[in-house]
Amino acid sequence: MDDKMNHKTYHRSKTVTVFFLCALILFGLAGRLAYLMIFQSEYYTLKAKELHERERSIKAARGRIIDANGKILADNKTVCTVSVIHSQITDTENVIAVLSEELGLSQDYVRKRVEKYSSIEKIKSNVDKATGDIIRSYALDGVKVDEDYKRYYPYDTLASKALGFTGGDNQGIIGLEVIYEEYLKGEAGTILTVTDAKGVEQDEEGEERVEPVSGRDLYVSLDINIQSYATQLAKQTMETKEADRVSILVMNPQNGEILAMVDVPEFDLNNPYTLPNGMDASAFSEKKRQELLNTMWRNGCINDTYEPGSTFKIITAAAGLESGAVKPEDTFNCPGFIMVEDRKIRCHKVGGHGAENFVQGTMNSCNPVFITVGLRIGVERYYSYFRQFGLLDKTGIDLPGEAGTIMHKMENIGPVELATISFGQSFQITPIQLATTASSIVNGGRRITPHFAVKAVSADGTDSQVFSYPVRNDVVSAQTSETMRYILEQVVAEGSGKNGAVEGYRVGGKTATSQTLPRGSGRYIASFLGFAPADDPQVLALAIIHNPQGTYYGGQIAAPVVRQLFENILPYLEKMDYNRT
């Protein structure tokens, strides 16, 4: 009995020990639990939230592009994206039948997507809102119709190469759409929905929305009336002259605002991937098709360079006057050619222009006169003017892919090269570069930056950002500029550019006819650069006709284009009191 009591005494104390040992361990675990649930709580809550929430983005409405009159050039229309959530579909066959019927898709195509085990599967995007509404009205389980925005261009082909278009995610692909992407795109919003492990939304948990911020509206200097008319003229010219391409640039030489930029043939912005003239896309390889599209989208006004020919004499004249190498009253004699070193360079008038002063030489567009002036200036001085006028740099226009000037290196320029440069041959510049440089010369000597964008305004109109562009004042002196305006007005009034004259207006300008390389191919580029009023230029236009058939002289076919343009837009601009602020 005693022994048994002993036995029990230590077994009791040991049971108590066991209990306290357990209590100790449980306290430790409670401490661990407290650590996890108090100090680590934030970390694990965040992790769990990331795991439980599915993020769906809400597209932001892209900013519109609005012309100088407030007309909308690029807009958004509501389209729908139809998708299915596999785990929520209750009537698979019906879903397949309805979707293939309403969306015009094959049953197999829809079936593949409906039966695919994924959290959300897109069936079709860019569905008309009306179709989307019909599908929504079926109220099918597991079918989601999300509204979305699609870019829409009300004027189809108008200014297509300048405006550009957007891709599947509403991102800019070319033109202003890509340059001003940051302003136009806005900020996508998000819908955070809580889902279970399979992606099934938990309705009772609600959803968290971050509203999207619409993109800013882009106000551009482009004037739809001028653009339309210029486009019409360009098309007409292209057809009557059977030309390859016709470009027309209209800008304000005072501040660089571009009023119209036409490069026909243009393309349909609402169907930018459709090849021109019924070309069958399937007939070409992927690579070839992309090449054709790139050609179609190419903006000849800024992406391509050409030999400017006689319009470039404006630059030579300005350099000559500015450097003092020539004065308007200097006299020259043109026998129909000029010898430069051992080379005989012909004037376009075979018999020669005879005796003429510099103003008359310009009116006649006499090559020997300009070669003489060029040689008088000399390579180094000519080159420094070239740089001073901004010809060696890009213009900085707010469009992508501007081509640079293709010019000889200074050390490679001999007298012959200098002679050809003087009348606009043996190098290449872009049309926008020529128009900009000419603007700078006639506007009093200010190098302006050509541009479209005027301001970007937030969707609610509360925040407006006005763009400013660099201006350089040292191109030529005011005196030289004034002389140039006078000389160029004479060119139109009585010289080679008389077809550019507009009754009742003072117009200045210069014609050009250049043969494209290789010489002797019979391909020409006819062009005319005009501005008005000649004493205080408010508008400058450059028309370039590529490979016209029949008559190819700039003075005969390009000058009338600008004349017709001016006849219409000059009264319009006056009435609009355009840019007279």
């Binding site: 066991v18 209990f19 661990r32 709580s41 694990y44």
Partner: protein
């Protein structure tokens, strides 16, 4: 003190003393377990089986069966079981061996025997079997347990059963629990501490060497590591293995951590919605923490502590050594399982499948635990008889 209080209460209630405190704690845990099994399983059960109450009904059925068995056992004087020591051992062995030809698999492990409509997890039977067997064995040995021979006999005689549980049913956790019960019963029945201190040191050293070995091996041969070695790596750095080996652990930690102090509210767990697989099983404690917060988690721990305390009181007031040892066995079973479960769920030790007594889903487990409580109640009934 405790002994005297319990005795007095026993006196007042006369012959049919029932330990209502213990009964209340157990009923509370079973009821709370049912609520949590429903909460943690209903969402997935609805999706997978189209029947949100499937697990709840099965648990309810097993619990009722268990409660009936508990009341029956509670009313049988516990000495009745003394004669079943050897049969208990033999039937444990036989049941485990029956797994080889007749076992049913679930979740990659073969642990169940089907007897009519009832599935039986044999390891649960073996735990009860070992408690019955050892209680008798230790009583028979008497003072002999103080000798090294007696000590080793008690320690090693259940080892074959533990080994069979491990190798045949591939259930390391149940093997550990069986050995845990053995060591605790041996500890209580031996007067000295030295050998247990030594035993504890050996276990710790082996564990440390194992962890060290696994970490070393991991650097050299990532692919050669076996399943359990990988679990140790996953334990040390769960975030690095969050996609596979530590998936369950990480999901449990997300549940616990995101519960915070007050929890998301009953039924509001997100992790049970497919993120934490089989949330009603071994990881149910993490769902309790997610829904009921730190307060809920600690309340559950406190309830188990109360249960262990109550078992200690009964063991220390048991009329004789056999009764005391039965209760110590039950105490050991519950304590080891609670501690290991919470330690696993909080990633305090490497992951091994251990259910939370009375709360986790599992019919065999809750049934045999209730039978063990029945035994305890029977021992408690004897208290006044001795002290009178």
């Amino acid at each position: 003190m405790a002994q005297r209080n319990a005795s007095r209460r026993g006196q007042k209630r006369g012959e049919s003393f029932m330990d209502y405190s213990l009964l209340f704690i157990v009923l509370f845990l079973v009821g709370f377990g049912m609520v949590m099994v429903f909460s943690s399983s209903s969402y997935e059960a609805n999706i997978k089986l189209g029947d949100s109450t499937r697990y709840l009904r099965q648990q309810l059925f097993a619990s009722i069966l268990g409660l009936v068995a508990m009341m029956v056992v509670a009313n049988i004087p516990y000495h009745f079981w003394e004669r079943f020591a050897v049969p208990a051992y033999i039937s444990s062995v036989v049941l485990i061996l029956l797994i080889i030809p007749f076992g049913h698999s679930s979740g990659g492990a073969t642990r169940w025997l089907y007897i009519g409509p009832i599935s039986l997890q044999v390891a649960e039977v073996a735990k009860l079997g070992m408690i019955l067997f050892l209680s008798s064995l230790i009583c028979t040995l008497g003072k002999g347990i103080r000798t090294n021979k007696g000590f080793m006999l008690v320690l090693l005689s259940p080892a074959p059963v533990a080994a069979m549980i491990y190798f045949i049913t591939n259930n390391l956790s149940s093997a550990i629990i069986v050995m845990g019960i053995v060591v605790l019963m041996l500890f209580v029945s031996c007067p000295d501490y030295k050998r247990f201190f030594l035993l504890g040191l050996i276990v710790l050293a082996v564990a440390a060497v194992l962890v060290f070995y696994v970490v070393q091996t991991a650097e050299a041969h990532m692919d050669d590591l076996d399943f359990r070695g990988a679990r140790i790596l996953a334990w040390l750095d769960p975030e690095a293995y969050s996609d596979d080996r530590a998936f369950q652990t990480i999901q449990a930690l997300y549940a616990i951590g995101s519960g915070g102090v007050l929890g998301k509210g009953l039924g509001q767990s997100m992790q049970k919605r497919g993120f934490l697989p089989e949330a009603q099983n071994d990881m149910i404690f993490s769902i309790i923490c997610e829904e009921l917060g730190l307060f809920g988690g600690i309340a559950v721990i406190v309830m188990f502590l109360l249960l262990i305390w109550r078992l200690m009181i009964i063991a220390n007031n048991a009329p004789d050594l056999y009764g005391a040892l039965l209760v110590v066995g039950v105490l050991g079973h519950i304590a080891v399982q609670v501690i290991l479960n919470i330690a696993v769920v909080t990633n305090t030790i490497p992951n091994t499948g251990i259910s939370l007594p009375f709360i986790s889903y599992g019919g065999s487990s809750v049934m045999f635990l209730l039978i063990e409580i029945g035994l305890t109640l029977s021992v408690a009934k004897g208290i006044h008889l001795k002290d009178l």
